[in-house]
């Protein structure tokens, strides 16, 4: 099978699809960290919440209702977390932030258990995206192509906003030097709030689109947290380029590792992480040079 071109195309598409999912998660986390030096370990829990909201909304109004409303609902949860906890924790240092957001993971985990129970939920792939599509000489699940396209679209949109618009320039300035940005009359706190909400919504969106592929379980947020952290450490903190590169590296190493060296697959990505930390501790494309 390894000599079959279609096989490699299939694996490459699988890798790309995993990468795009990780990208949706890591971009919010990395920019939040870069802009405000805030460590939000509960970011993965927002992904799980996105999947649960999507499951409930899909039961009422179908997949697309979940697709559009669940990210908004997750952003709403983000606003509650921000005004209730995170705003007060802004100046309390990384240790306290890690402890509080780590605690939040378990609080949210149990809340999802209380509301939705322990059993895994499933969402159907919407009819429009069901089935397979011919691409690059193989038949590939249409829904996975949709995830790849969505990831690329979000990447393009964020690249445009961050690179070409005034608010993007303000965000980059805030990541570079928040004190100077404030001295130029930029309300860095409000900027952070907006970025935080968008980051939460994207985490929720990742949960929504992942839901039909995986089963929706309370610990899905915990499972995705480590890959997301690996992505942003490899990519470098605070940058879009870092998030997308880190996601691609993780997606391809993980997917091809599992195919080519199954015994090594679980170790490979950690070895790569260690190598990056030794050779370039700040990551490949950190926002601050």
């Amino acid at each position: 099978m390894a000599h079959d071109l279609g096989f490699w195309t299939l694996q490459a598409l699988n890798a790309l699809q995993l990468s795009m999912l990780l990208f949706l998660l890591s971009i919010g986390l990395t920019v939040i960290f870069g802009l405000m030096h805030f460590v939000n370990l509960a970011h993965g829990s927002l992904y799980a919440l996105g999947a649960y909201f999507a499951a409930s909304l899909a039961a009422i109004g179908g997949y697309w209702m979940g697709f559009f409303l669940a990210p908004v609902a997750v952003a709403g949860v983000g606003i509650l977390l921000y005004s209730g906890l995170i705003k007060r924790m802004r100046k309390s240092g990384p240790m306290a932030q890690v402890l509080v957001t780590f605690g939040l993971i378990f609080a949210l985990l149990d809340l999802t258990r209380i509301f939705w129970g322990d059993l895994a939920l499933a969402i159907e792939v919407p009819a429009l995206l069901d089935g397979r599509t011919a691409i690059l000489g193989i038949e590939y699940p249409t829904y996975r192509i949709f995830i790849i396209a969505l990831g690329l679209f979000i990447f393009g949109a964020l690249a445009f906003v961050l690179g070409r618009t005034q608010i993007g320039a303000m965000i980059r300035a805030g990541v570079d030097n928040d004190a100077m940005a404030a001295c130029l009359g930029i309300n860095v706190e409000r900027l952070f709030f907006i970025v935080f909400c968008v980051g939460c919504a994207l985490a929720g969106l990742a949960g929504v689109v992942a839901a039909p592929l995986l089963s929706v379980t309370p610990d899905m947020g915990l499972q995705i947290l480590i890959p997301t952290l690996i992505v942003i450490v490899i990519g470098g903190l605070g940058s879009l380029k870092g998030a997308v590169t880190g996601s691609l590296i993780y997606g391809f190493v993980q997917t091809f590792g599992a195919v080519l060296a199954p015994q090594l697959a679980s170790v490979l990505i950690y070895a790569l992480l260690a190598a990056v930390l030794v050779i370039k501790p700040v990551g490949l494309f950190p926002a601050k040079g």
């Binding site: 320039a169 980059r172 570079d176 004190a179 100077m180 404030a182 001295c183 130029l184 309300n187």
Partner: protein
């Protein structure tokens, strides 16, 4: 225009300013002189809200100054820090626009065209990254960016530090132009000649307090204060 009264401030536990009182007047240039570590930059950072005001008052146009740097900037004070703090991820144009778009309402004094007229060098480097500039160009950009905030008071922290003499001369001439146009300025400088030729009023800071007040002519004639507090 800007009054500091018995200001105490510093970094964390380390207090640097011990009851500093000074006044900057409208349309005039005030130079703050003093040795390294006397509290000059700390004074500017406290004015900008970058360091917490532990005690005392700061008033701008008679009104107590608001606490956060963002509000202080909005009230009309522009700051050119010692480290220039050009945003490395932004191009020269973006560095300027970030100030221009926020403060450049219709009929504003300073526009992109006008700062490029003031520093033609920046016009040639508009699409360069913020970090690709020489020290002198970074200083020009920092000043241009501050002017685009159309401030009523411009605060400069050691604008000549680390620059070649020819660039120091250029910065001097440009600041002289701004002064003649009536812009109020506070200038912290180690370069005694530069500072006294630009400033109308001079204060000397020593150990976190004002130890001498007078005019530029006064301090040039006063060897004792130069010796005791400046080591000139």
């Amino acid at each position: 225009m800007l009054e500091l009264n018995a200001v105490e401030s510093g970094y964390g536990e380390t207090q640097v300013l011990h009851g500093l009182t000074l006044e900057a007047q409208t349309g005039r240039v005030l130079a703050i002189l003093g040795r390294n570590g006397a509290g000059k930059s700390t004074t500017l950072k406290t004015i900008m809200g970058l360091l917490p005001l532990k005690s005392g008052q700061i008033a701008f146009d008679g009104k107590p100054i608001a606490g956060r740097p963002f509000d202080i900037a909005k009230s009309g004070i522009a700051y050119v820090p010692e480290t220039r703090d050009i945003f490395p991820s932004l191009t020269v144009r973006e560095n300027l626009e970030i100030a221009a778009k926020r403060f450049g309402s219709n009929g504003a004094d300073w526009t992109m065209e006008r700062v490029v007229d003031l520093f033609p060098r920046l016009g040639e480097r508009m699409d360069n990254g913020g970090t690709q500039l020489s020290g002198g160009e970074q200083q020009m950009l920092a000043i241009a960016r501050a002017l685009l905030m159309n401030p009523r008071l411009l605060i400069l922290d050691e604008p000549t530090e680390g620059l070649a003499p020819i660039i120091v001369k250029l910065i001097h001439d440009k600041l002289q132009e701004l002064k003649e146009a009536g812009l109020s300025m506070i200038l912290v400088e180690q370069n005694f000649g530069f500072a006294t030729s630009l400033a109308d009023d001079v204060v000397v800071v020593g150990k976190g307090q004002i130890v001498w007040t007078g005019s530029s002519d006064d301090i040039r004639a006063d060897d004792t204060v130069q010796h005791t507090w400046l080591g000139v």
